[in-house]
Symmetry: none
Subunit: 456 residues, 2 copies
């Protein structure tokens, strides 16, 4: 792939990732390749600085290659290598390089052999997949017909790779990753701390007011940033510098531990970055204590149970529970007393959306299912259902557990969730898990984001 | 938002979508906003021509805005509007516009009110969210603290929007979509037919062998394509051409009706494109019949109930149900006879993953909850749990209903689901809804994708 007329090959300090295809740009398909490639580059110490998705437009792809080739050292492009008229990556790269497309005899032979291995003759349409810009090199595809392409363009090395993940992943591991050249003097290491119950600004001010100084200051190394998603607020730590890998890892680990301390009980995970989910953390904490969990869900209608059941091995602690969407089932399945839901003798009852109902649901589910812990959710997810004093987003979460941890064995909190129906339900389920997390780490009274004081 | 010095505002023929954040570019977070925005623009007749993701780098974001502003009519940017030092979209836009940041009094008041409504004082750090480039306009955020920004840059209108989907979605619908101006001379109309229980190749061959010819041929207008996601296979119809809106709409509607005929009982929705979900179709069919539904879930652990509860107004027909993850709760909550789960006298029991258990769960839940219909799911979601003759992905779905529709009042099917734990659970929940759909449209025996015949 190297051009003998050029001097020493570049070092790959920065990279751009290009994904190709109308279905991506027009919003019919979610591009997951770019994220996967970015993570892989970071592992290698190469920093992605831009992702671009482009439609099936040869001129647009060629212009993008040309632009990026003067600003980054490495371009990884996925898609557009198929045999049909809308597969334009080969032609676009040739145009950007100012070279003609030529047929690669070895690639043609491999494509023919791929079909022969499946008892078929190569359709003539697939012949185009053996075409390469003059001066480029083919990359073997062991899992499909489209060879990849390696080429030099401006200061950048360009790798064009097939879109299907099952072809892309092995090609990257076998032929691309081994020839990438991260800067020798630079190591990249990342870490993360996930929290529940803290607002992003709360976490940020803890980071700013650290005894070590303002951790989020943009000139510090490691860099610390915050992100928020569905109630989980995360601090992300990134080191990029000259330290050797082991030392860089220790620096990041030390800072992660410090950030975790700053977040206190609200931090539920800090290792293994994106895989440590809140339900997984709760399940692990219950497993260590040898305790079990059930749910009683009204407005979340099973979402909380589903989040828990999504974790492999959840069955060690999760027994199940009841979905009491209709008030009658709150009584029949969770044992809520009818008087909580309906007034008698003119008395105004607490109603289905109340702390009393959330507590009765949790206590009832815990007792009926014979579990150590129960979480309950009842609220108004919207768009309809608001009543005076209880707007859409009003949610009560109940928790029942050992009296040694939860005073009286049961308690509840009122929340004012924001967003649409989906957001209210997701925040509610995550906040319920957060309440349990705080109880399990010995801070059952720690105030939570979106918690509001009971009125009247 | 318009600049009085400029002539008539542009028409929005083309758009670019920018997403902002280290976590996206470095591969820690999957960007789903860009896809959603692209689909929404297509609905409106505006063609996205590029997606870009950039890191927290003010100069890079500003340069990207400047580049795009000379090539597209519309830029939608998400993220980077939070209160912390790594939220740089405001400053980048100001830099690209060559204007200073100024404080917007109304936005500041709204942010203060947002905190006050939650019983808190606005942290000083959030004050920066009221800053806007001079000449830009704030867009109200009804679901969070960050206002959006509308500005003119070069030939493009720029909208900077918050990253959290729960804030983004309502802001787009309420404030952005209404002010976009698709070109008048080009009409884009789309339609869709969603099916459950058919494979993508089954649907494609019905489309290819239509009495009207090969509907999927790429030179036809409207274009017809198929996509598959989690068990739902959809035929998408898209018209793009010079016909006036009404005529284009009629062309698409006529073709959609024809495709729906080709798909037969498997088609569950065809109007209103992405909003007609399978649970919504099932709920509507039950509502028309005046019947109710409950669930009994083992491996899905609440996911089926959650999908149903996700539909606004589900409470008209959905009562709730039981999550019987642990075998003991299958007996205690759903009334499954212990003999189904445990052998006695040396007999080998059907076990928890069996048609007998699925049927007992459905019958038991229907009777105990007093519902017209019950759906049950029990299976092996993996990665562990496989037993001889029942590999990971083995799932039994039960349905109990009126004996006039379901012979004997209850039945079950065995499925072999593919993919990982999440995929098995999602396919299971959707297949359960599909079984109910087929029963409700009078085809309770129609064979379904991934259904397998019981062995032994």
């Amino acid at each position: 792939m190297s051009d003998p007329a050029r001097p020493d090959p570049v070092v790959h300090a920065t990279a751009a990732i290009v994904s190709q295809g109308d279905e991506i740009v027009l919003g019919q398909t979610l591009d997951t390749n770019s994220r996967a490639l970015a993570g892989r580059l970071m592992d290698l110490g190469i920093v992605p600085v831009e992702h671009v998705s482009l439609p099936d437009d040869e001129a647009a792809i060629a212009a993008c290659f040309a632009r990026l080739s003067s600003s980054v050292d490495l371009i990884l492009c996925t898609g557009g290598l198929g045999p049909t008229a809308d597969d334009l990556t080969r032609a676009a790269l040739a145009r950007a390089m100012g070279r003609p497309l030529v047929e690669d005899a070895r690639s043609l032979e491999r494509i023919r052999a791929w079909f022969a291995g499946r008892g078929r003759e190569m359709p003539e349409i697939n012949r185009v997949q053996a075409m390469l810009p003059e001066g480029a090199a083919a990359i073997d595809n062991d899992h499909g017909t489209a060879p990849g392409i390696a080429a030099r363009l401006g200061r950048a090395d360009v790798f064009c790779l097939p879109g299907p993940p099952a072809e892309l992943r092995p090609m990257v591991e076998r032929f691309v990753a081994p020839v990438l050249r991260p800067p020798a003097g630079r190591t990249v290491r990342t870490g993360v701390v996930h929290t529940i119950g803290l607002g992003e600004s709360d976490l940020a001010s803890r980071l700013k007011n650290s005894p070590r100084g303002d951790l989020m200051e943009r000139t510090r190394m490691p860099l610390v940033g915050t992100t928020a998603s569905g109630g989980v607020v995360s601090a992300r730590v990134r080191y990029e510098g000259p330290e050797p890998a082991e030392r860089a890892g220790a620096i990041v680990a030390g800072l992660v531990a410090h950030v975790r301390d700053l977040a206190g009980a609200y931090a539920f995970a800090s290792e293994g970055a994106p895989h440590e989910s809140l339900p997984a953390a709760v399940i692990e904490a219950l497993r260590r204590r040898g305790e079990t969990l059930v749910v009683a869900e009204s407005c979340t209608a099973g979402l909380l149970g589903s989040m828990i059941g999504d974790v492999p091995g959840a069955s060690v602690v999760f027994l199940g529970g009841v979905i009491t969407y209709h008030n009658r089932l709150k009584v029949e399945l969770a044992g809520v007393e009818a008087g909580v839901l309906e007034g008698s003798g003119g008395a105004r009852p607490p109603g289905a959306v109340s702390g009393a109902c959330a507590e009765a649901m949790a206590s009832g589910a815990r007792a009926r299912c014979g579990a150590g812990w129960a979480l309950s959710v009842t609220g108004i997810a919207g768009p309809g259902g608001a009543v005076e004093g209880k707007p859409v987003g009003t949610v009560y979460i109940g928790i029942a557990g050992p009296t040694g941890v939860i005073a009286g064995g049961v308690s509840s909190r009122r929340f004012a969730m924001g967003g649409d129906r989906r957001a209210v339900r997701e925040w509610s389920a995550r906040s319920a898990l957060g309440m349990l997390w705080l109880a399990l780490v010995g801070e059952p009274a720690a105030r939570m984001l979106r918690q509001v004081d009971e009125v009247g």
